[in-house]
Symmetry: C2
Amino acid sequence: MSMNVSEYIFDFLQKKGCETVFMVSGSSAMFLTDALKRNEKLKVICNHHEQAAAMSADMCGRLGQVPGVCLVTIGPGATNAITGVAQAYLDSSPVFILSGQASSKLLQYEIDTGIRQHGTQSLNLEPIVSSITKYFAAVMNEADIVEHMERAYELAMSGRKGPVWLDVPVDIQNRQIPDSAFEKASSKKYETSQCLDISEEQVQTVVQMISSSKKPLILAGYGVRSANAVEALDELSKTLQIPVVTSRGGIDAINSDNPYFMGRPGAYGTRASHFIIQQCDLLIILGSRLSVSTIGYYPKDFGGNAQKIMVDIDRLELAKSDVPVDIKINGDIRLFIEAILSSYKETHQNISWLNQCKELVDKYPVVLESYRKEKPLNPYYFVEQLSEHLYDDSVILTDTGSVCNIVSQAIKLKGTQRYLISGGFSCMGFWAGAIGAATTNKHTVVLTGDGSAQMNIQELATIKYNKLPIKMFIFKNNGYVLIRHNQHNYMNDRFLGVGPDSGLCMPDFCSVAEAYGLESARINEGDDIEAALGEIMKKDTPVICEVVLSEFYDIAPRIASRVMPDGSLKAAEFDDMYPFLEK
Amino acid sequence: MSMNVSEYIFDFLQKKGCETVFMVSGSSAMFLTDALKRNEKLKVICNHHEQAAAMSADMCGRLGQVPGVCLVTIGPGATNAITGVAQAYLDSSPVFILSGQASSKLLQYEIDTGIRQHGTQSLNLEPIVSSITKYFAAVMNEADIVEHMERAYELAMSGRKGPVWLDVPVDIQNRQIPDSAFEKASSKKYETSQCLDISEEQVQTVVQMISSSKKPLILAGYGVRSANAVEALDELSKTLQIPVVTSRGGIDAINSDNPYFMGRPGAYGTRASHFIIQQCDLLIILGSRLSVSTIGYYPKDFGGNAQKIMVDIDRLELAKSDVPVDIKINGDIRLFIEAILSSYKETHQNISWLNQCKELVDKYPVVLESYRKEKPLNPYYFVEQLSEHLYDDSVILTDTGSVCNIVSQAIKLKGTQRYLISGGFSCMGFWAGAIGAATTNKHTVVLTGDGSAQMNIQELATIKYNKLPIKMFIFKNNGYVLIRHNQHNYMNDRFLGVGPDSGLCMPDFCSVAEAYGLESARINEGDDIEAALGEIMKKDTPVICEVVLSEFYDIAPRIASRVMPDGSLKAAEFDDMYPFLEK
């Protein structure tokens, strides 16, 4: 097997099943680029900014069974990718980053001396990206590449997944790999990907807890998807008749028309799900980190009437003590569910509890009838309508900001649809990940705010060149609505940097789309939606559609603060959402 | 003095003389933002991406006598700024970065445990940005803010300048500062900004070397500008009749019409300057790090006939041993020049050497007469014409790529003009720094390639909103010309990611500019230049002008490789530039 370092890297990834590499070209990645060019099995998408390349790869990591792959060049090429890599790290997405670098001699001099720079464009990446990757290595010797690749790949895909990064000096890129490198690597073993730290006794305890529960509930997070446990979850809830609510990351762990689905709790959640959580007597938390945006401001009271079982692949998540958890299980969620299902013998009847949940869900819909006729357009109504026009296999991405809150509350999922957001990092510009999704899914839909659209607007050129049939909906509210709310609520309307009144103005995105050679559309009123979506969604070409909204609109229900008798603000209880109900 | 942390930060910076803060809003920076809003003396520019905010601040740092200031929010807001911060670090530009952060409790938990994330959007920045800043601190206690500010400010401005970063948790932002904090801080002393590690004996040695030199030469780098030594350099060269050549960073250390100016050496340099360097018998290197792009591929032979004196503020730059240097002096360049001038008593006559230099400069112009009539337009001719249309006080920025090589070779500087590039980092998208320059200079001109224009294209909205009268010239060559050259020269025309033939296509920037509400123009031919520039440069509003070029054009003169008799490639000697001359 005679290959140079660059050829080996792409050959390795292609054989693992990676299909597309997202890149921005650069001379210091010249041999990597050339090996990619000569690899006839890998597809290439050339982004116009490395931030978008990393985010595109991230989406492939979330949607597939192998890491997304991103190739960038030295220095600014590498630092431009950092935001996308941090996002992948926090959202447990496996991504393989490759970067060009100065010659190994120059890099070594920089490392040894701490001089600001010795080469041109060069920067020692180790201190900068180590804390946001599961593995980082500067490849200083061609003999190490086999070991680096195997180790990095295994780490990306095992345990709690995440990004890995190999930085390859330009002189190493075209070195031939010695045969000994393959022998050395094959004798090593790395962390295995599946594990479950639970004894048979513990399984019986959990089974017993479920069995004796009158009001059990599952809270599903992103970990369910990450562990390929969506079907297992479906089986579990159906067999044991346990209703399911989802955190933001877990939204596509269960479809909206599943009879066991009871909504989405959170700071911007569904009201019924909050009542249900506070009423359940057993809460099974599967792959959710119980962030403040999921559980609200009083962690001790979250599911306060329930015993709690938490299953997570990451020991550090289990070690948190905000929410009191009775049973903590470290391991793979699919293995956990299989263990429970194989031990659970009796039939379970929760009909009255299920009916009670269902009544609450029906009583407190997110999208109200009155929204339909609002002018300007009510975004909740738009999302409800959009749900009707999606394909059964659509991939839906929602960017950060008010758009994420609204869509995550209101969208209805079905079929094999996927729903993706920038979870932990909540990164504006996330929409460009649609480029990654669209390489494998022709029904990719992305919703973004105008502020977020701007953060990756250069990528319209990538969509155009590659004819990616992405349907992009831009909530046009002329700025950053969530921050506008914040400055309204806490700063007495002292607005800065949120809209035309305070320092910034958004462009006409229809004109921008057309300047990039893309078709555009605009939806101004509720009555326009049906016709416009019918037209847009049947096209097999990209469409950029502005959805024209007010500059200030309510996002509800949500966990808000109440004004106390003394005038101070106090965060409301988890099940006391705004708009506040009569007691 | 009763102030909260946020009020103090901006009050401090304003009193130091900072005038403008470049920001992108965010709720986790809410009290910082509000304090800025309430500070009536500071101007604010709201960028549309933190990358551009950092670069705008960087330009203020380079152009003024105080740091540029940049305010970003938590997580992605912070990581988006990294490329701009790294650029400022490598180019010794003082920048003050402020970021919002999760509450100090959440951040401390993340630091203590190493969990991926505890808050929302939060990320521990310390490991990520410490290596590219002179000072980083997470402000965990309001009592420490005075000390942090004084220390950070002093470090940004002293020694080799650079960026500093304070990360301020949201709960700390609005805490009142205790009086004791001011007392504690005022008792401390920090590194002083000026120093010169040279004895009187060494001064005499240097004076003697200059005195006995027949062919002295000064190589001026960015350190001259950074030390405010431009006038001192002028005095030195005039008094001692020493010709001057400049590295890329030092281009605006001397005007083109200065009789002692002899050109710009480098990988893409001026031919005469290379001959002059190889002929000089004394080379005084002032604030240049002697990078490969300045000295070529044979450092031992660089100025091989000369004794060398090197003055630099950074000991690590002096410690490098690639180029043999006889006398190394650590310290402030202005102090060095003043020490020499005050010790130098005799008059110096270098007329024949100066004439010899001048003859070489005249014999080898960069812009040839034949360029004028070329079709498509020759970019060198465009730059020559542009030089004629610039104002005496214009600030000229040139983005990275072929445009930087061409403009840096051909532009003629005069008056109080400044010339700025992304030096060490060579970062695409640098053009957005023009937003920073334009806050103090109404004659800001920026030249960029189309690939680089795309990397910050969202900033057209910032230019529009703030009515910044920037004149932006985009070299339209449909891709990345330097990488196209690289793939042509070394990869046998296996092109990937460089143009419409290989994965990407650039938009029509006139249409894009108009979509953002900006005036556009286009220059197609040499004969159009005069009229178009006359029209554009007299406007007091922004204009985005495409300069239409071929997709492949020669960049010369340059240090190239020669094909050896056995077919291998060998980098040419420093004074043997392409196009190769007859021996």
